[in-house]
């Protein structure tokens, strides 16, 4: 089975995470509105845990800005709403368009003057590709991971971080390129709620899919801050590295395990 064009990946979740230095004051929920030009639909705060979330519709998906004591996250996930019969209920849409849309917002935000200093930057994605059945999914894996996966296997997961010495000139010794590969099935069900309780019944055959979880990021143990003028470029590097893994897998020569 051959690799498929990168355009066929569906995005299930996209994420930008920045880690400010510990002394940074970095909570500005208004960033959500400033970046999207619309009002968020939900805003919640957990005072005990010192976390908060702002979220709302964005580009056909649901965009969330999350704050916790150690990090700021932007998440794009599938919108809650009427089910699109063409794509999964959990998919945002085609990966290429979704990443482009998300990246435009991410790069604009990273160029804002009131964001905190950043000591670590990450781009994450969860991608899926529909497969006809379990066997097809496992055969597909062979093209993307450096292991001769047997289609009779079950519960196979492959995870690897292949570091890339990309940004040494800017004081960032390497990028972590973490990818996790698996095959899964999705089934839907019918729920009925009555005074007697909740009844659940499965409907239809399961839909199989190749799944790729990406987490491309700068090292955790860097003590210094990343120069502000470098953030957008660095984000583009992270997103490009993610696209390369989605396109080529980790079986390609450049990712071969030594």
């Amino acid at each position: 089975m051959a690799k498929f064009p990168i355009e066929e990946w569906q995005a299930q979740q996209l994420r930008l995470t920045v880690f400010p230095p510990p002394n940074a004051e970095h909570r500005q929920p208004e960033w959500w509105q400033r970046m999207t030009g619309t009002e968020p639909s939900e805003s919640t705060t957990d005072r005990k845990r010192n976390t908060s979330l702002v979220s709302g519709e964005f580009g056909g998906g649901n965009l969330t800005l999350g704050f916790s004591p150690e990090r700021i996250d932007w998440y794009l996930t599938a919108a809650e709403g009427p089910i699109n019969p063409v794509i999964s209920i959990e998919d945002i849409g085609p990966m290429i368009q979704s990443v482009d849309q998300f990246s435009a917002l991410a790069e604009r935000w990273l160029a804002e003057q009131d964001i905190p200093e950043v000591v670590r930057l990450a781009f994450g994605a969860v991608l899926t590709h529909p497969e006809t059945d379990h066997r097809a999914g496992y055969m597909r894996l062979r093209d993307y991971v450096p292991i001769p996966v047997d289609p009779d296997w079950r519960d196979f997961v492959f995870q690897v971080n292949v570091r890339a010495p990309r940004m040494a000139a800017h004081g960032i010794p390497y990028l972590n390129r973490l990818s996790r590969w698996s095959v899964g099935a999705r089934s839907s069900g019918r729920l009925s709620v009555s005074p007697q309780g909740i009844a659940v019944a499965g409907t239809g055959a399961p839909q199989y899919g190749l799944r790729l979880e990406l987490d491309v990021n700068t090292p955790a143990d860097s003590a210094g801050t990343i120069p502000r003028e470098l953030l957008a470029d660095l984000y583009r590097e992270l997103a490009a590295a993610s696209r390369a893994i989605a396109s080529d897998g980790v079986a390609h020569e450049q990712y071969r395990l030594q």
């Binding site: 979330l53 519960d155 973490l178």
Partner: protein, 222 residues
């Protein structure tokens, strides 16, 4: 999604946990899911209301699945391991029967360091979670803050900082004392302004003086 390799299910809209189809382990998110039962039921009702009965995706960025061996380079927001949280709770409760001496280790500190040594970031998350829900025994918390401050490298600094910062705002003077000493142990000049802020609201003279001494030392380090 139901299970083949990643067992997601639209019928159980908790964490998008991936668990092996053939696994016999307890679902990783049983506890969190039960805590979120009200929201889950709301999703069920909504699911029942729409024509196909499918439940909309349920997203909670700060509740990713836990894994036995999380990738060291991962930047996903880690959920707190309920078993580890229980260990922390037991440890802090057991520590209440001890008497602590300044600068001396104890059964509590040895157990705490052992926990941090084996599960560093996860243990710190569990400690933060425990302290967010419980004030605990102030003497034990104070002791913990001093040891937590000294343990680990730059990768765990934000978590340790966050725990100490919370301690500075405790209503118990002994906990604030532990947090100030913790910041002294961190010896990070970036804490200077934070300590000055704490000095403004501190009412106890001894703690005011302690803050001033630590802040002066950090000022000198800048």
């Amino acid at each position: 999604m139901s299970n083949t390799d990643f067992n997601e299910t639209a019928l159980s809209p908790g964490d998008k946990a991936i668990q092996a189809e053939s696994s016999t382990a307890l679902p990783q998110d049983t506890i969190e899911t039960s805590r979120r039962r009200a929201k889950w039921l709301a999703a069920l009702v909504l699911g029942a209301a729409i024509s196909t009965g499918q439940v909309p995706p349920f997203t909670h960025p700060y509740g990713r699945r836990r894994e036995e061996f999380p990738a060291e380079s991962s930047t996903l927001a880690a959920g707190v391991d309920p078993v580890l949280l229980q260990n922390v709770k037991d440890l802090f409760e057991k520590g209440a029967s001890e008497f602590f001496h300044d600068g001396m280790d104890s059964n509590f500190s040895r157990s705490l360091l052992s926990l941090l040594g084996s599960r560093a970031a996860d243990a710190l998350s569990a400690i933060a979670e425990y302290l967010s829900g419980n004030e605990g025994n102030p003497e034990v918390v104070s002791e913990a803050l001093r040891w937590v401050a000294e343990f680990g490298g730059p990768d765990t600094l934000p978590k340790r900082w966050s725990i100490l910062r919370r301690g500075l705002k405790s209503r118990f003077p002994v906990v604030r004392d532990g947090a100030i000493l913790g910041f002294a142990a961190l010896d990070d000049p970036r804490a200077h302004s934070l300590l000055l802020e704490a000095r403004e609201s501190e009412q106890i003279r001894e703690l005011q003086l302690l803050i001033e001494r630590v802040a002066a030392r950090l000022e000198h380090r800048r």
